[in-house]
Symmetry: C2
Subunit: 337 residues, 2 copies
Amino acid sequence: MSEAVSIPEAAALLLEQKRILILTHERPDGDAIGSSFGMREFLRQCCGCEAEVVLPAPPPERYQELIGEYKTTLTPEEVAQYDLILLLDCANCERIACGPAVDPVSLPELSRPPMLNVDHHKGNNVNARWNVVMPQIAAASQLAAEIAMAMKRPLPERAATFWLLGIVTDTGAFRFSNTLSNTLRVTADLLDCGANLECVVNAAYYSKPLNQQKFEAELLETQEKLAFDGRYIYAYIPDELFAKYDFDMRDGEGVIDLLREVAGTKIAALYYRKGDCFKVSLRSKDQRYPVGPLARGLGGGGHDMAAGITLRGMDQKQVEALLLEKVAAVLGEREED
Amino acid sequence: MSEAVSIPEAAALLLEQKRILILTHERPDGDAIGSSFGMREFLRQCCGCEAEVVLPAPPPERYQELIGEYKTTLTPEEVAQYDLILLLDCANCERIACGPAVDPVSLPELSRPPMLNVDHHKGNNVNARWNVVMPQIAAASQLAAEIAMAMKRPLPERAATFWLLGIVTDTGAFRFSNTLSNTLRVTADLLDCGANLECVVNAAYYSKPLNQQKFEAELLETQEKLAFDGRYIYAYIPDELFAKYDFDMRDGEGVIDLLREVAGTKIAALYYRKGDCFKVSLRSKDQRYPVGPLARGLGGGGHDMAAGITLRGMDQKQVEALLLEKVAAVLGEREED
C-alpha cells in the first residue's frame, strides 16, 4: 500500500518514531546532503530521535567540512532495527545510496521499517508506504524545512544551514525557474533561525579548487561548440582533460552552468564518458524548450529545466549526433507554435 | 538644509510631485538601472507623474533590451523644469551621471528643484535636501521597492522586474552577505507582483557574450596570482587582453567573482589601466577581513565586502605592490585578534 500524505501528516508521522534511517540518492549534491543532514540535526535536537544518514561514497569535498561524521555502511540487519526509513530527494529506487549489502529496490517494499518518501522530482516513482512528492517545490531541503516547521518547534541553526544549502544549490542561488515567492519566504525564515549564508555560499560557490578553475578554462577554450544559430551549446569532456587537471565530475555540479551563461543559448548539454557509458547533463534557459521530456525519452530523468541521461552502447560521435537530433526537435517543434 | 527622511516620508514626498528627474551613478550597474527604471515605471503608471531617467552613456549591452528608451542628454534649463530630482544608488555627487552640460556637484545644492537622495552606500555624502540612506539594505532597488510599497498601490510587473534586477545583481543572486531575510521577503513580494525572474537572470547571468567567456578563460589561465598562503587572489588585466577579445570592462561587473570563487581565498582584487589611472575592484569573502576601509584609505569607496579605488600616478608594478601591502595589513591585523 502506497499513500500520498501532506506536509503536516509527514510531520506527525516523524514525531511517532524513535529510530530513523535517512537515505538519499547516489552521487549526492547540495540538496541531497542539505535535506538529509538538516533532517538528521532537527530530529536529533528537536524530536529526541536517533537519526542517522548513510552515505556509502564520500560527498563532494566542498561539503565535507560542513557535514561532519556520518554512517558509511549499511546491512539488511541494521535496516531492520529502524522504525522508519526517511528517503529524501531521490526519484527512483535504483538511485538510493545504501551501499552494496542492501538491495535499494527492495527498500520501499519493506513493511518493517516502512518508508516515507519526501521528494520534489516530477518523475518520482518510489511508491513508498507514505509519499510527499511535490514537484512545485524548489528543493527537497525546502520540503524538509516545511515539514520541520509544521512541528512548530524552533529550528536549530545547523539544521537551518543545511536546508539553506539545499535550497541555494538546487535553485542555482535563486536563479533557476523553480524559485518561487514561497521559496524565498521559507529561505527568509531559515535566515531568521540563524542559517549561515556565508558558510553555505562559501561551500557551494566560493570553494572551487584552482585545478577545477583551470580545467574549466581549458574546457571552454577547446571543447565548447554552438549549433542552431547559437541556441544550442554543448561540450564533450575528453578523458584526457579530466586526467590533466586531476578533476572528477563528482565535484562538477556547476560546470554546465558555464555553458548556459553564454548569451543567446536556449539549451546546454555537457557529456563525458564514465566506464562503458556516457553521462549527459542537460539544461534549458527558456520554459518553451524543456529538456525533461527529452531526457525521459532516452531513459533519463529530471526536471523541465534540468535533466540527465546515461547512454550506453554508443561512441562519442553517436552521442553528439543523437543529442543534436533530439535538441533540434525540441527547439524546432516549439518554434512552430 | 539637508534632512534624513524615512521610507514613508519619501513616499509622501514623491506623491506631491508632478515632474520628476531620475538620476543615478555613472557606469550604471544592474542596481543603478533597476532602481531608476523601476521608479520611472512606477511613478508613470501608478502616480501619474512625468518621470524621466537620464543615462548619458549607454548601459551594458545585456540590459539594453530590458530598458527600452531613455533620455541621453540634460541641460541646466531642462533640470530647472522638474519639481524634484530623485537620485538613486549614488554615493557621491561627483559620480552623478548627468552629461557634460550640467555640473553634478551643484545638483544637490539646488533649491529648485530640490533633490531626494535614495541610497544604500555606507559612505554616501550627497547631502541632498532629503536623504534616505540605509546601508543595511541590500540594494537601492530594494529601497525603491519599499518606498513604492509604502504608497499601498499595486506594483506594475515592469517596475517589479526592474527592482528584482537591482536586488539580484547587487546581492550576487542572494549570495553576498548583504542578503538578509528582509531582502528575500521584499523579493518574494516582487515575484508575487509578477516580476520576471527568468528575464532578469537571463540578462544578468546568462547573457555573457562568447568573447567575454574566452577573455575570462585566458585571464584565469595567464594572469591569476595567489599570495599569503592563497588567502589573497588577484589579477591584472593587460591592455592587450582587452584588445584581443574586444572586451570592455563596462560589461565586466562579474569578472572579479571568478577570482573569489577559488577555494581558500579571503580577499580578491582585479585591476586594469584606464587612461592615466588604474581602476581597482576589491572583494572580501569573510566579514573579518573587510575591504571597504582599505578602499576608503586610498581615496576609494564602497561596502565592507565590495569596494573600488581609482589610483593615479603609479605604474602597474607599484599598484600591485601597494595592494599587496594594504591587503597584508587587513589579513594580518585581524589574524592577531
